[in-house]
Subunit: 257 residues, 2 copies
Amino acid sequence: MKSKEKVGIIKINNGIIQEVEDEVVVEKIVNIYVNKEFYSSLMCTPEEKIELAIGFLFAEGVISSMESIKSIVELSENLICAILNYDLEEDFQSRRALTSGCAKGSMDLSIFEENNMKPIAISYQHAAHDILLMMKEFNHRSLLFKQTGGVHSCAICSNNSIHYFSEDIGRHNALDKVIGKALLKNTALEDKLLMTTGRISSDIAAKAAKAGIPIIVSHSAPTDMALNIARKANITMIGFARGRRMSIYCGSDRIIY
Amino acid sequence: MKSKEKVGIIKINNGIIQEVEDEVVVEKIVNIYVNKEFYSSLMCTPEEKIELAIGFLFAEGVISSMESIKSIVELSENLICAILNYDLEEDFQSRRALTSGCAKGSMDLSIFEENNMKPIAISYQHAAHDILLMMKEFNHRSLLFKQTGGVHSCAICSNNSIHYFSEDIGRHNALDKVIGKALLKNTALEDKLLMTTGRISSDIAAKAAKAGIPIIVSHSAPTDMALNIARKANITMIGFARGRRMSIYCGSDRIIY
């Protein structure tokens, strides 16, 4: 499915008016079914839908790894069906119902409630200089953004290469996609960095914590709630990583200056 | 409640490492109850919560104007309770359940399904030059953004003044807040413009269509689905309004060059 669409627009620039062709990012509804029952609808960029569904179901606590999944298939353009190796607990939808109304993301709030956030050990350190170099490479990768201006990007990196890269109209989707890819390949995340173009709100931090990613690096700013999650999960949170500058909000022990 | 919080950070700039104090935007959960039953949780910037709830319930189709509401009150820091002048239809939550899982917004998808999108008449025209001047003023208004870098702004404007202005960590919340303010003051919207710092996804376009706002002007890009909604609702969609340039995606009849 196409991720961008050509449209005719009227461009005004310095008083010059032109009819030109431009590209806009495509947005689609994808319905996710779990064990043959409707689970959720996502508005997303229609690429890497299987990876998106895997990352989303992981963040929601529906699956804990690829071993939870018997099969996952794209039945049609907007329909992903996952069959698990177990039944979902009966209270799953009701626990979720409390949180899924959250207008800015369907977040599994159990991360706050159940004391199930294990602090991530400090096993690896990264040089600030290397992180800024990676951020530069990450920024260069976002082709769709350059073409349409309408998406966010996420990447899972080590200190010298980008392992997984995804784009989506939603910050959360881009993150679900890269985590989905890592789960598919069974990639260890405890030595990786998460790069994102988007702001770090609580749900982004919670998704990273759930995946055990020790460092989040953003082009943009975190919220206070995201910082609280990062502190609890012992995540290193870096914002405003641009050019030669960055702000380290917590977990600076992982950074070598 | 405070909308920003001071935190100690480590700032690296051009190799210079400093411990400084910075500000991050506050993110809170607000629970909305309708007729004494839980309706939804929103992650938001904890300002203008009543306005947020009103705009959100309007976008959801729960209320059609302030006349729908008998009372609305902030019972505690994170609890808004609205009592309506009528009972909610029994199928309301189930109709919503299908869509509320949408990970990037709890959108009332009935706008696509029920053919209930009335095209907005072209009653007013605005000069492109005036729109760019308004966008400039709008950009200057976002204090919280300047302080924290973590929020989006929305405004409802006429061609010479900003009537309502709001900021929030969520694009959708900022829009709900300004629409909530307009509903509270019973402000006619058919001659107004909506300004936003954020990308225009389908839910933003749908919320504007529902409120009958004829022109959307964004600093950023629309998605194809948002454009489809705009065309159906006869909304003028302008993106990349920056400095002396803008892109008109549809509805150019309302713009005087």
